[in-house]
């Protein structure tokens, strides 16, 4: 971990308006108004998050696609310019080194956005695989600020200050636009389950943060009529959990494969060789022995990471993430359990201190996707 903690372009805003905590070596806002009001602003309107702590690296060159196809599990050849996909990188045993979103800027140029907690590990891993490929890699994390603008009103908010028609950018597509006069790359992606964008403000260094601060303030101004809230990492966590999305270090790590994590949709075994492929093929053939599941609590109590999951008198697994769902108003968790107990509707208990509270296995997302999230039927 870096020492002392780093600050993003928006640090002054965070320190004035929010509760700061150190996360992955960065002084980041946990919340401003509170996790619940920020969470609900994103589900019902729009919120903006500073996620500049994440890692951003450009990969370019004639063999960029071949290189990325070798180090990641999804099929990069299906990614057309100005499209993005979710993917994982694995170690040779098939364990997840990281999960990330990869955007194809041009035929031979990609942007990979990965977890803050894995910034050094991922960069070094990519550099170590480089020598066999004709590829350039450039870490742009410190010169590109990154915000997530999320919620059903995200498009309307950003459209007010965007030079480009954002309705033309579909989910998991991306493009360049002027945002409040600043050159930004924008992707219709996110970590909340809602419609929304991730905004990359280009060429704004940490020592001259004005451009990033200006875009942030202009977004807040544009979103005022929709009740926009600046949101901290607290709401980011509850939102992604409700949506059923993994948090690296909690729900997935180097000892968990994407197949066990329910991320089989980003593992393309029919493509050419890639790191971890043999292990994943073997696991797929034999069948996964444990799975990541969602647990919705039927009784009072909030499940937390490391709490035990029981079936009858037997301990069967462990909670990897848990919280109170602000939308459902009950405890929700992700847990790792043997495949035989992973069926939807299966009743289990979670050991919360001295008591066992009932819960049941549910599918992701936890909320009703016709009422919340990017697939909601608009009201």
């Amino acid at each position: 971990m870096r020492n002392p903690p780093q600050k993003t372009h928006l640090y002054k805003f965070h320190a004035q308006r929010g509760r700061i905590e150190v996360f992955a070596g960065f002084e980041m806002p946990m919340w401003y108004k509170g996790i619940i009001p920020e969470h609900l602003a994103v589900r019902n309107g729009v919120g903006i998050f500073d996620v500049t702590h994440m890692g951003r690296t450009l990969i370019s060159g004639p063999e960029a696609e071949t290189f990325l196809n070798y180090i990641t599990t999804n099929d990069v050849s299906t990614l057309t310019p100005l499209s993005a996909h979710y993917s994982t990188m694995c170690n040779p045993q098939g364990g997840i080194k990281d999960d990330f979103v990869l955007s194809r800027l041009e035929k031979e140029k990609f942007l990979i956005v990965y977890n803050a907690s894995n910034r050094e590990k991922d960069y070094n891993w990519m550099v170590n695989q480089l020598p066999r490929f004709n590829v350039d890699i450039k870490n742009v994390s410190d010169n590109v600020a990154m915000f997530a603008v999320q919620g059903p009103k995200a498009e309307q908010t950003l459209q007010k200050i965007s030079s480009k028609d954002l309705s033309k950018i579909e989910r998991f597509k991306c493009g360049w636009t002027e945002l409040a006069g600043a050159t930004t790359f924008i992707a219709r992606t996110g970590y909340t389950g809602e419609d929304g964008f991730e905004v990359f403000v280009w060429d704004t260094s940490l020592t001259s943060p004005e451009k990033a601060v200006d875009v942030w303030n202009k977004v807040l101004e544009a979103g005022k009529e929709f009740g926009i809230e600046p949101c901290g990492l607290g709401a980011r966590d509850t939102l992604r959990l409700e949506a059923g999305m993994c948090l690296y270090g909690n729900d997935i790590d180097e000892d968990v494969t994407p197949l066990e994590a329910g991320l089989g949709f980003v593992v393309k075994l029919q493509k050419g060789d890639f790191i971890g492929k043999n292990s994943l093929v073997k696991q797929k053939t034999e069948g996964v022995k444990r799975k990541r599941v969602g647990i919705c609590m039927l009784e009072k109590g909030i499940p937390r990471p490391h709490y035990e999951v029981w079936k009858g008198k037997e301990k069967i697994g462990i909670v990897t993430s848990g919280t109170l769902s602000p939308v459902l108003k009950c405890g929700i968790a992700m847990a790792r359990v043997p495949t035989e107990y992973s069926t939807e509707g299966e009743e289990v208990t979670v050991k919360i201190r001295d008591t066992f509270a009932k819960g049941k296995i549910v599918k992701f997302p936890f909320y009703d996707p016709t009422k919340y999230g990017y697939q909601r039927k608009t009201s």
């Binding site: 996790i35 619940i36 109590g301």
Partner: protein, 135 residues
């Protein structure tokens, strides 16, 4: 009195773990302080001590949870729990909104009050204690 935006009413006894005790004629009312509720923020769940249970000074008597974190409530005095604030179960936000009044946690029949009070702070001392924490 007030320090660093934290309310610290006179007449209560305070523990280092940020609980308060109000000594009445035949019982003691206990709760968590303004500092504790502000540190937790958005309290969403409370586990109260059971009615009739014996609690021991500085031992866990319950838990409070915010969206993100679990915190234990330590008993500021020892004794038998004679009443609990059941309103907190459905309205845990009372702990945020009124930590010293409607957010009280339990009434306790104390067993060794005189000696235990020596281990608690008055409002003045507790304010100084918080000033040190906030330095």
């Amino acid at each position: 009195m007030k320090t660093h935006d934290y309310e610290i009413p006179e007449g209560l006894c305070y523990s280092k773990e940020h609980e308060w005790a109000l000594v009445k004629r035949d019982h003691v009312i206990v709760g968590i302080t303004d500092y504790a509720q502000k540190a937790l923020h958005e309290i969403v769940y409370v586990e109260l001590p059971s009615l009739g249970s014996e609690i021991k000074q500085m031992k866990t008597m319950g838990t409070v949870e915010s969206v993100k974190a679990v915190s234990e409530i330590f008993a500021p005095v020892s004794g038998k729990v004679v009443e609990i604030n059941k309103n907190l179960v459905e309205n845990p936000e009372l702990l945020n909104n009124h930590p010293y009044t409607d957010g009280w946690i339990a009434k306790v029949k104390p067993t060794s009050l005189d000696s235990e009070l020596k281990g608690l702070m008055n409002a003045q001392k507790y304010a100084e204690y918080i000033d040190k924490l906030e330095e």
